[in-house]
């Protein structure tokens, strides 16, 4: 069991009525899909807000960063970096800089 840290942007943690940084328990390999599954299970109001609820694709203006890398286009079933899986670094969910 891994404990993963996730940092949400303002709009999402206020939507979830949660803290900005969350901890999620991941039973299997720590991948983007596993983290988002756990996120949406714990905070169902975020379902559809980060990734499309039907296709599972990341919403176009949402980005994922961790360990100084842009993970936005990582395949959802690829293991995430060890430092993230070990809880030493958080997964940053970021709203892209766009619009007004």
């Amino acid at each position: 069991m891994a404990t993963v840290r996730v940092v949400l942007p303002y709009q999402l943690y206020t939507l979830a009525h949660s803290a900005a940084e969350l901890e999620l328990e991941i039973a299997d390999t720590v991948t983007l899909a596993a983290v988002l599954d756990a996120l949406e299970t714990a905070w169902p109001m975020l379902t559809g807000a980060v990734r499309d609820r039907v296709t599972g694709r990341r919403r176009p203006l949402v980005r994922f960063y961790a360990c100084q890398d842009d993970l936005s286009n990582l395949a959802p079933d690829i293991p995430l970096p060890d430092d993230l899986a070990a809880g030493r670094e958080p997964l940053l969910v970021v709203g892209a800089i766009a619009g007004g």
Binding site: A49, R59, A98
Partner: protein, 370 residues
């Protein structure tokens, strides 16, 4: 003693404005849902403390929020809007066909009798209904079967932005869609028909086509639901046969382009519009913010200016941003893209700004509370 609650949706959050019946001193609450676009907030006529809000974002998608205490607290409910079956395609600007794709909820219309039943008009244009307080949503697909493959978006998106429920005949409802036109159902949404006879739109290939008119708003008075008023892209129209035919009543308006429209709470032939310069210039003619009132059901209009800026004013008033209360002296309200919300407590004769510096206004609805 009666009081008033004004629900304001803006580009960056929601605000609730409250006053006693005098409508002079206002309390401003908000922002709620800061940073999100709030396309519409509506209260249930059956339970005025039940509010629904459409919260949306290009980044994070659609959320429906519900309050059960008049807006003091909110909780997200369902945001799963799936078209029924294979959604098919509609026309796009370049003449190609594009698959239907849900983008956002433009308008929420609670049932007059059941607080848990609420309708949602969405982009890409379709009508959804929830019967469990917004937890789940089901499409009424017969609407898109009404020549949906011919529908095309307007510049603001292909949105179902107006839904009127007939207060006398519960099976009858009307919708308006930019830029597909207007439709009526006489069987609670099981089937629909276009109601566009008499409309003339010079900007579409066939100006009198059944489908393709850019209807901005439809309004009715609850005691005379056979009579409808329409603010079209250009032209103000009237129908006295539930939309089966329309006649133009633009009369002496300085421009018959516009978005917003409302009918007086107690006078079925008194209606309000806000003329806008043109479809290219979305601001009032001559830089003067004027509400025009007709007390003859159209054709003859008077400018209402007392308390409104009469120089250098270049705001817009969007289609869901005008409403009335039902106090004896009917109050009229509208919000602007400049962030002002105006009230007239005397049916339009005098105006004052409740607030002046909100984010750009998208919608205004009003509750008259006991």
């Amino acid at each position: 003693m009666s009081h008033i609650r004004v629900l304001v949706g803006t580009r960056k959050g929601a605000f609730i404005l409250t006053s006693d019946a005098a409508r002079r001193d206002w309390r401003v609450s908000g922002p709620f849902f800061g940073g999100w676009e709030i396309f519409h907030i509506a209260g249930s006529p059956a339970n005025p403390d039940r509010l629904y809000a459409s919260q949306t974002s290009s980044w994070f998608g659609q959320v429906i929020q519900r309050s059960d205490d008049g807006g003091a607290s909110w909780n997200p409910v369902g945001n799963d809007f799936r078209y029924a079956g294979d959604p098919g395609t509609h026309l796009y600007y370049d003449g190609s066909s594009k698959p239907w794709a849900f983008k956002r909820v433009w308008h929420l219309e609670p049932s007059p009798t059941d607080p848990d039943t609420v309708y949602a008009g969405v982009e890409d244009a379709a009508l959804f209904r929830s019967t469990d307080g917004g937890a789940s949503w089901q499409e009424l697909p017969a609407l898109r079967a009404q020549q949906g493959a011919k529908w095309m978006p307007g510049a603001g998106g292909m949105c179902l932005h107006t839904l009127l429920l007939d207060p006398v005949n519960p099976a009858r409802m009307y919708v308006a869609i930019s830029a597909a036109g207007a439709f009526r159902s006489d069987d609670a949404g099981a089937s629909w028909k276009p109601i566009t006879r008499g409309l003339h739109s010079q900007y579409i290939p066939e100006p009198e086509a059944e489908i393709g008119h850019c209807v901005q708003r439809i309004a009715m008075h609850p005691t005379r639901p056979q009579t409808l008023f329409m603010q079209k892209h250009w032209d103000v129209m009237r129908s006295d046969d539930a939309g089966d035919s329309w006649v133009e009543v633009s009369g002496n308006l300085p421009s018959d382009f516009g978005f917003a429209m409302a009918v007086h709470a107690h006078e079925p032939d008194t209606l309000y519009v806000v003329p806008i310069q043109s479809d290219s210039e979305h601001y009032p003619p001559e830089g003067k913010l004027r509400v025009y009132r007709s007390q003859t059901g159209g054709r003859t209009w008077d400018a209402l200016t007392d308390g409104l800026p009469q120089q250098h004013c270049y705001v817009n008033v969007l289609r869901d941003a005008m409403a009335v209360d039902t106090l004896d002296a009917c109050g009229v309200y509208f919000g602007t893209t400049g962030g002002q919300v105006y009230v007239s407590p005397d049916a339009g004769d005098h105006w004052q700004a409740i607030v002046r510096d909100l984010p750009a206004g998208l919608s205004v609805s009003v509750q008259t509370l006991p």
